[in-house]
Structures are given as C-alpha cells and as structure tokens.
C-alpha cells in the first residue's frame, strides 16, 4: 500500500465519495508540496502528511459542503460490475454508514477515520492527534459503538 493510497483512504473517510476523496488527496499533496519548509525532519514525514490530510479534509468539509452536492450530481458514476441487488443494498448501507460517521463528534470521527479508513496504528493516530494511546483506544471504542447504534436506528426506522 503506497503512501498516497493511505492518504486517499483517509480522505475517503472524510469525503462523501471516491471522486471527492481524490480531489482531496490532490489538495493534500499540493498543500504538502507548498509547505515543505515546515517539515523539520523527514522521519516525521508520514505523520506530517496524515496530519495535513486530516486538516485539509476538515477544511474541505466546511468550505465545499454545498459545492459537493452539485458536483456529485454532474459527475459520471463508474461502471459497476456487481449484481444490482448487491449494489442497491450496499449503496444503502454505505449511505447509512457515511451519515453515521458524519454525525460522530469530531474527536471520535477523527480517530474512527484514521483507524478504519487509514489503517493507522494507535501509536500513529496518537502522534497525529497529539493524544495518548489509551485515549485513542477509548475514543475508537466509543466511535464504533456510536456508529453501530446510529446504523441500527436507521435500520429500525426503515423496518
């Protein structure tokens, strides 16, 4: 897994769809390129990049919330090779998951996305967010529980 793919996956957690995530990843790299001076030690490049990813995604979410709605409608969807029933079911679950993640408190959402989407270790997440490993663990448990509850509620409403 390349570094850009990890950044992309983190962006995916914050974005609404893969295309937005790609734009976001581009922005992250562009921002990193323009601010290379602020990187003191190459040893920390990975964490530094992930931190930029997280901050850019949060900014992006604030600034482009409205724009995304229009852009998503105008973009071409990729060709789907899976059966239509699966597509429908999966799309519904995914929408529900995205909504649940979006509704998480910021602290929990950051940890959830960095762990579940970015596949980062507790140590890395702690470094990026400037918190303790134990805090990462507890926040992650709470975030997972909150997402689960949210999705169950959604399921219940549907039935």
């Amino acid at each position: 897994m390349s570094l850009s793919e990890t950044v992309y996956k983190i962006c995916l957690g914050f974005a609404k769809n893969p295309w937005d995530a790609q734009d976001l990843t581009q922005d992250v790299y562009l921002k990193a390129f323009r601010n290379l001076d602020s990187l003191k030690d190459n040893k920390y490049a990975r964490d530094w990049l992930f931190r930029i990813a997280r901050n850019t995604a949060l900014d992006h979410g604030r600034k482009h919330r409205v724009r995304q709605i229009f852009l998503a409608q105008s973009r071409g969807e990729p060709a789907e090779t899976r059966p239509p029933e699966y597509q429908l079911d999966h799309a519904e679950s995914l929408r529900s998951l995205k909504k649940a993640v979006r509704q998480l408190p910021k602290k929990l959402r950051d940890v959830f996305i960095l762990r579940e989407y970015g596949d980062l270790s507790y140590r890395e997440i702690a470094e990026i967010l400037g918190i303790k490993d134990g805090t990462v663990m507890s926040r992650l448990l709470r975030a997972r529980e909150a997402v689960r509850m949210q999705m169950m509620e959604k399921e219940y409403e549907k039935k």
């Binding site: 850009s4 793919e5 992309y8 996956k9 995916l12 893969p18 295309w19 995530a21 790609q22 990843t25 581009q26 790299y29 562009l30 390129f33 323009r34 601010n35 290379l36 001076d37 602020s38 990729p78 999966h90 679950s93 995914l94 998951l97 579940e116 989407y117 663990m137 448990l141 997972r144 997402v147 689960r148 999705m151």
Partner: protein
Amino acid sequence: MKKNERKWDGDPIKKIVEAEKEDALQIFRGMDFRGRLQERIKSGPKKTTSLPLWLKKSIPVLGLILVLVCVGLIARILLFPPSPLDRTLGGFEEFFTKSPVLRRILADEEASARKEAIWEKEEFVDFEWILKHVLFSLHRKNIPDEKIPFLMYQILRDVDPKKAERLQIYEVSSQKDFYLKKELECLKDQDCRIKLFSQILIKLKEV
C-alpha cells in the same frame, strides 16, 4: 483490546468500510493521480512565500515588547502626570497668566514692559529652569498664589537686605504690589535671582 479488535473484524460495519475502500482504491488506481498532481504543481504557484523562521519566532517577542512599552508609557502618564510647566517659554508664561496675582502684574503695562525686558535677556534663559522648578514645587505643595510674592520678598530680604531696602524707593500702590515689584526687580539681577531661588527652595523644604 485484541479481543475487541477480533470482534470488530467480524462486524458488518467493518465489512462495509472495507468494501468501500476496495471499490474506491480501484477508482483511485485507475486515475492518473501522479500525472494530475504534477500538472497542478506546474500550473499553480510554486510555494507559499512564508516568513523566515527567525522572523516568525521574533513576532511574538516584538509584540510583547510593544505591549510592554505601551503599558509603560500609560503607567508613566498615570503615575507621573506631565508638569503644568513645560520647559518652554510658552508653558512658563501660561503658568504666570493662570496665577491670579501674577496675572494682575502682567496686566499692568509697566510690569509687562519689565517682564518683556527680562525675557529678552539671554541670561534669563539659564535662570528660567530654576524658576520653573521653584514654581512647580510651590504648585505641588499647594501654596496659595497670593502667598508666593510675600514668601519671595521674605527670602529676598534674607538674601540681600540692602537690595531689598534699595528697592523700596519704587513707588508702590499697595503693600502687595510693593512685594511684587521688588520681586521683579530682583529677577533682573542674576546673582540675586540665584540666591533668591536657592532660598525659596530652602524655605520650601521647611514648609
């Protein structure tokens, strides 16, 4: 924790996330991410022109110094209000004009002429500063203006009784004016002036 992780690995939510990532990665790999990025880097501004590190670090320090200087100036003004007698001729004159007794002298043409004569003398400039200090001290000690000429006359008499006597030949309309005229006469003589005001300072200490 490991137990929790294992439990989570089998969770349907985890599966949805993994499926989403898998699909998204296919899209990502199908796009020329590197090419697009290079294009954007080439077309966009090279780098943000950031301030040098030493300047960035010194900004808070400079800001703090500026704040301290401002606080210092304000405190100085509050604790030591500027003297009503600025070290200027204008400020000095202003003090005289504000004093009811001295204003009366200034209103008098003869006294005004004398005053002008005194002001024009170069030697008076040296003396001006001493006089200002004396008057300011009087002002600070809250001695009423009308007592100043008498105080000055007393001192003059102590310093130079002969000169004080000689000055009595001047015609005076009232006792107060007599003191004032003597005071002004004394101001014409540099030695007398210095002695006079040295004595004033001593008297003030006694007060």
